[in-house]
């Protein structure tokens, strides 16, 4: 503990003499290695290869091997770039994408290249993105094996495309490139959430995710355009230099310019959309309709952290505002999101959704970290969260995979004790203690950086920082509670389960041909089985072998099938990585001398920022300037407090949900999977509140009533107007001559002589006119 304290002290003691929130100048980028461009090319190539496999009707696991190889190579490249990196930003350019020129002056040309910008933030993100992508591709190799063939190719094509998009997002050297990746990850998320496209819920969730993201994207786009208009460029390097100079491109004082708070707010909207922050968050829980590896990679570890990355990338702009308006908004959005999602998690039963909301909540922590002026904390939390949340998701995925898609925590119990699931249980435990912030875990350190900074940041800089800090602390406790609630209910306790009825299972061929889904459900029935440690029939390792057309669901019982080697390897890897992630906190940072490796990486990036918690002078000044935590220096106290809060949460969880007699310390009272008397009583106590939380506080319904339904009604009105009024006017213009013609119609008798009379009379008339007018 002393060592840790020392570490903290060094963190607190360091800092430059610069003004509190003036961004340190970012050096002009050097020439980067063009090898970095391979990070963009390889996944794209792999995606294209998967397309080729699909076209050639490949029915093997080749797409998976290709993907793992390509992504592994990417990770290697990222690692190599990191090892060869000199700490200075660098750029490498492939070719022009959109570049326009309409004058010679400043801001009269628009350039967006396919190019990469490498700095600490980029490398940090790339390392965990490619690393996790490789691991999860490995996991998917087995997880998706029920769908070998076209679907398999589709899955891995989208997967690779996602990595490409994420790379473009993170590594792009301009905002438009970021936008490319931004929309690209949205697309892949759409494709992968909707992977089980026959399921209406999946399709709806995919659509919702894409559209919600698009709303945020509009903010991002407006931000990009405003940036261009104000600064005359969207490339990072010149942009950062201009911001550092404190002037806009037209020479106005940046600090008093509208853009200094306006543009960050627009970007913040974009970030909220992508990272599922408050009011935009509803798509993320629904996104759990996708295959679990996708949830792990995209909707927990990487894509959703793009918002954090964006703010980190543009931190100079965010911090250029003397009033820090945008950061206050970001901080409060994060805090509210974290708290809001945590309350929902405590009530719901779907373990995958618990993980989804937990991701939202943790993203809230990251945003709060960004907003509360500790980009290091945010990035560190992103980093650790990526690993432990991936571990948790992969663990949940293994359960899902093994129990026919069962996700209800009231129908699963003691999974850890079932044959083949031990590793899963351990991994879940590791993930859970990380998430709960149990001391000495990676999650503990990263969360503490944020919490400590939250209490340190003065309210004069970030509006209501102290209140935010208290709320975050409360949320940390709730996090510990809901995490262990899930763990204690599902993984320990009496061994029981009800298998699910998921499409993933059905695709395994377990239900005989000719029996419809509904019939099969009816036969299979509920309460079908208390599974009991069956021998593995051998279909754990090869699912194709498990396809038995003669399988009769009425006579044969369901066997949970534990994960095979590749899933286990992936889970194990993730688990190890999430343990090891704690270690980076003790590595010597490249910049400064505290905060660990991540701090160094962040310090060598655009997000480099002298947090106000760092010492700027004597102790008196320090005390006067900084907030306190119940009168103590928060840096010192926070370890104990947050660890305590976490433990309280875990204790409550054990008290309410712990299985009876299993744990000697806490006498739990849960007797079976579904029955936990204390918890149920508590839930009943809160009655309507619980119900509201279980229904996600009806936010979807509110959106539906406030936005979707009115729009839909409006669209119908427009449609009717279009046909009635707009087209009606046109038709009226056509109808008037028609009416006139109709009135003249009887004159056409059809009898030949009728016309002849007219002709003769007309001739006479003309002659009369000629005679009278011309010849007289």
């Amino acid at each position: 503990m002393t060592g840790l304290m020392g570490g903290w002290a060094t963190l607190a003691a360091a800092g430059g003499g610069a003004a509190a929130h003036a961004a340190p100048g970012i050096p002009a980028p050097g020439a980067g290695s063009p090898i970095a461009l391979l990070l963009l090319g390889l996944p794209l190539l792999a995606a294209a290869l998967c397309g080729v496999f699909a076209a050639t009707g490949n029915r093997s696991k080749l797409p998976a091997f290709t993907s793992v190889a390509a992504l592994g190579a990417c990770f290697g490249i990222a690692l190599m770039l990191f090892l060869n990196w000199n700490g200075q930003p660098a750029t490498a350019r492939a070719f022009d994408w959109i570049s326009l020129d309409w004058g010679a002056g400043k801001g009269q040309s628009f350039d967006a290249h396919f190019g990469v910008y490498i700095d600490g933030l980029t490398l940090l993100w790339m390392l965990f993105v490619t690393g996790l992508a490789t691991v999860i591709a490995l996991y998917s190799m087995e997880y998706m094996s029920h769908d070998v063939g076209l679907g398999y190719c589709r899955y891995f094509a989208a997967f690779n495309l996602f990595v490409f998009s994420m790379t473009a997002l993170v590594m792009g050297d301009n905002l438009l490139m970021l936008f490319l990746g931004w929309e690209g990850v949205g697309l892949c998320s759409y494709l992968l959430i909707g992977y089980y496209y026959k399921r209406a819920a999946a399709v709806a969730a995919a659509k919702k995710a894409f559209i919600m993201n698009r709303i945020g994207d509009l903010g991002l786009l407006m931000g990009i355009l405003s940036t261009f208009v104000v600064f005359g460029t969207i490339e990072y390097a010149p942009l950062f230099q201009m911001i550092a100079s404190g002037k806009t491109a037209s020479g106005a004082e940046l600090a008093s310019h509208w853009s200094v708070w306006g543009i960050p707010l627009m970007f913040a909207v974009g970030a909220f959309g992508k990272s599922a922050q408050f009011i935009f968050y509803t798509w993320l829980p629904d996104a759990m309709e996708g295959p679990t590896p996708v949830s792990a990679l995209i909707h927990a570890a990487t894509m959703v952290t793009a918002g954090v990355f964006l703010i980190g990338r543009l931190y100079p702009l965010f911090t250029a505002d003397p009033a820090l308006i945008a950061l206050s908004v970001v901080a409060w959005a994060g805090v509210i999101t974290a708290l809001w999602a945590a309350t929902i998690e405590m009530a719901i039963f779907d373990i995958k959704r618990v993980m989804g909301y937990s991701t939202i909540s943790q993203l809230g922590f990251m945003f709060a970290g960004m907003g509360l002026l500790t980009p290091t904390g945010a990035a560190f939390h992103t980093f650790t969260h990526a690993f432990f949340k991936a571990t948790l998701f992969l663990g949940v995925g293994a359960v899902m995979h093994g129990f026919g898609g069962q996700l209800d925590l009231r129908r699963l119990s003691g999974v850890m004790w079932m044959r083949g699931f031990g590793l899963v249980g351990i991994a879940m435990l590791v993930g859970s203690i990380n998430l709960s912030g149990v001391p000495f875990t990676a999650g503990f350190f990263s969360k503490d950086v944020i919490l400590a900074q939250a209490f340190t940041t003065p309210g004069t800089m970030i509006w209501g920082a102290q209140a935010a800090a208290w709320l975050l602390l409360l949320t940390a406790g709730m996090t510990a509670y809901y995490t262990f609630r899930t763990f204690l209910r599902v993984y320990v306790g009496p061994r029981e389960f009800v298998p699910g009825d998921d499409a993933e299972l059905l695709d395994l061929g377990r239900h005989p041909k000719g029996v419809s889904l509904d019939e099969w459900h009816a036969q299979h029935g509920h309460g079908h089985g208390h599974g009991h440690g069956h021998d593995d029939h051998g279909h754990g390792s090869d699912h194709r072998a498990a396809v038995r057309p003669d399988f009769d669901p009425t006579t044969e019982e369901f066997d949970p099938h534990p994960p095979g080697w590749s899933m286990k390897a992936a889970i194990g890897l993730c688990m190890v990585l999430s343990i090891l992630a704690a270690g980076v906190y003790f590595m010597k940072p490249a910049v400064g001398n505290h905060g660990g490796w991540v701090a160094g990486m962040v310090g060598q990036s655009s997000a480099a920022f002298a947090s106000p918690g760092e010492h700027h002078g004597g102790a008196a000044e320090h005390a006067a300037k900084l907030g306190t935590f119940l009168g103590y220096d928060p840096h010192k106290v926070m370890y104990y407090v947050s660890a305590g809060v976490g433990l309280i949460g875990i204790l409550i969880a054990a008290f309410l949900h712990g299985p009876r007699g299993v744990w000697s310390l806490f006498i739990g009272n849960r007797t079976s999977a579904a029955v936990a008397p204390r918890a149920d009583a508590l839930a009943n106590l809160f009655g309507p509140l619980t119900r509201a939380a279980r229904n996600k506080y009806y936010v979807d319904e509110i959106y539906d009533a406030l936005v979707r339904t009115p729009l839909r009604v409006l669209a119908h009105i427009f449609h009717i107007l279009d046909q009635g009024l707009v087209d009606g006017l046109v038709n009226l213009c056509g109808a008037l001559p028609r009416m006139l013609a109709r009135s003249l119609r009887p004159s056409q008798s059809g009898v030949l002589q009728g016309y002849a009379v007219g002709m003769a009379a007309g001739l006479g008339l003309i002659l009369i006119v000629v005679w009278v007018l011309m010849l007289r």
Partner: protein
């Protein structure tokens, strides 16, 4: 208009004629055709009478009145006769009288062409078709007429329209022709002769002039056009044969040759002049018999001035022939029931028609 005929007379005459024509139209019950015809004749007669009175010495003569009245009378009969065959026959009479009018106007070729083509060919075709399309009356209904032949359609309105048109036409024409002047002299009409060297040379040859003047070589014939420069004065310049002077001197003694030079004296003078200059041109006057006939004139006009129209007319005729063949060949697929229905409709409608074939 007063210069030609007083308008009141014209309109009064036309009004009477109109009443007459209207009365003469075939009607179902009473059709006072005779009275109508008489009235019409009176109307037109009055107009012709006044026209003749005013014309004085320009009066076109009795044949004009005769044929005009025959033509108009038979035309009236064409439009009033309830039997198509008779109508067609009366129309032949109209054609005959109008060809007589052509003759009066010295259009001999057209007059006979009209009779041959119109009366001879076209009207006969009409008669055939009439006979083809009209059922012969059966034994019991000798006088049965088709309903559509028996009743005319809106006779009063049609007559009014027709006569208003006629009134306006006469008025306009009367006003219009005061502005135009007729061509003077025969020359205009004969102008085409200029371009007919063969005709000239033929006439000279028939007068025996070639013996004196020209070697009848091909070259001369082609040059003749140049030679005939002064045709409008009735003169033609010709080149003498080598020994022409001598021959001319001898020839002038013959009276018909002297006429060519406008008398014996000018001829002798010419002969004297030319006796020495053997290859000089002489100017001779064309013989009075050199005139284009009507048929030559039309032929020349047709070929020289309207070749394109002639070709087009040929094409039209060809097309008409083809069209007629195609149309008449077409078999109408008509169901028996439909036919019966059509017949019943007609029979039920009026009850007179001889539609009971089916």
């Amino acid at each position: 208009m007063e210069a030609i005929i007083h308008p009141i007379v014209v309109y009064a005459g036309l009004a009477v004629g109109a009443v007459g024509v209207a009365m003469a139209m075939p009607r179902p019950r009473v059709s006072p055709q005779v009275i109508g015809a008489l009235l019409a004749a009176v109307g037109f007669g009055v107009i012709f009478l006044f026209l003749g009175l005013r014309a004085g010495r320009d009066n076109p003569g009795v044949f004009f009145y005769l044929f005009s009245l025959i033509g108009l009378g038979s035309a009236l009969r064409v439009i009033t006769h309830p039997r198509p065959v008779y109508a067609a026959l009366y129309f032949i009479l109209t054609i005959l009288s109008s060809s007589a009018l052509y003759l009066l106007m010295q259009a001999e070729f057209m007059a006979f062409a009209l009779i041959i083509i119109y009366a001879g060919a076209i009207l006969i075709t009409y008669l055939f078709v009439i006979m083809l399309a009209t059922q012969a009356p059966t034994e019991e209904q000798v006088e049965a007429l088709s309903e559509y032949d028996a009743f005319s359609r809106e006779p009063v309105v049609a007559t009014a329209v027709g006569f208003i048109l006629l009134g306006v036409l006469t008025g306009v024409m009367a006003r219009g022709i005061q502005e135009i002047r007729p061509a003077s002299g025969e020359g205009q009409k004969q102008a085409a002769l200029e371009r007919m060297p063969g005709k000239i040379i033929e006439s000279l040859r028939s007068a025996g002039a070639f013996e004196v003047f020209l070697e009848p070589t091909k070259q001369d014939l082609t040059n003749a056009q140049q030679a005939l420069v002064n045709w409008t004065r009735g003169e033609v310049s010709l080149r003498l044969r080598p020994d022409g002077g001598r021959r001319l001197a001898k020839a002038v003694e013959r009276p018909e040759f002297a006429a060519l030079f406008g008398g014996a004296d000018p001829a002798r003078a010419a002969a004297d002049n030319l006796a020495t200059a053997s290859d000089a041109d002489v100017v001779v006057r064309l013989p009075s018999s050199v005139k284009m006939t009507n048929i030559e004139g039309i032929g020349w006009d047709l070929i020289a001035k309207h070749p394109m129209a002639l070709e087009l007319a040929g094409v039209i005729l060809l097309m008409a022939m083809l069209g007629a063949v195609v149309l008449a060949r077409k078999q109408i697929e008509i169901g028996e029931a439909e036919k019966a229905q059509a017949a019943a409709g007609r029979a039920g409608g009026v009850g007179i028609g001889g539609g009971g074939v089916v």
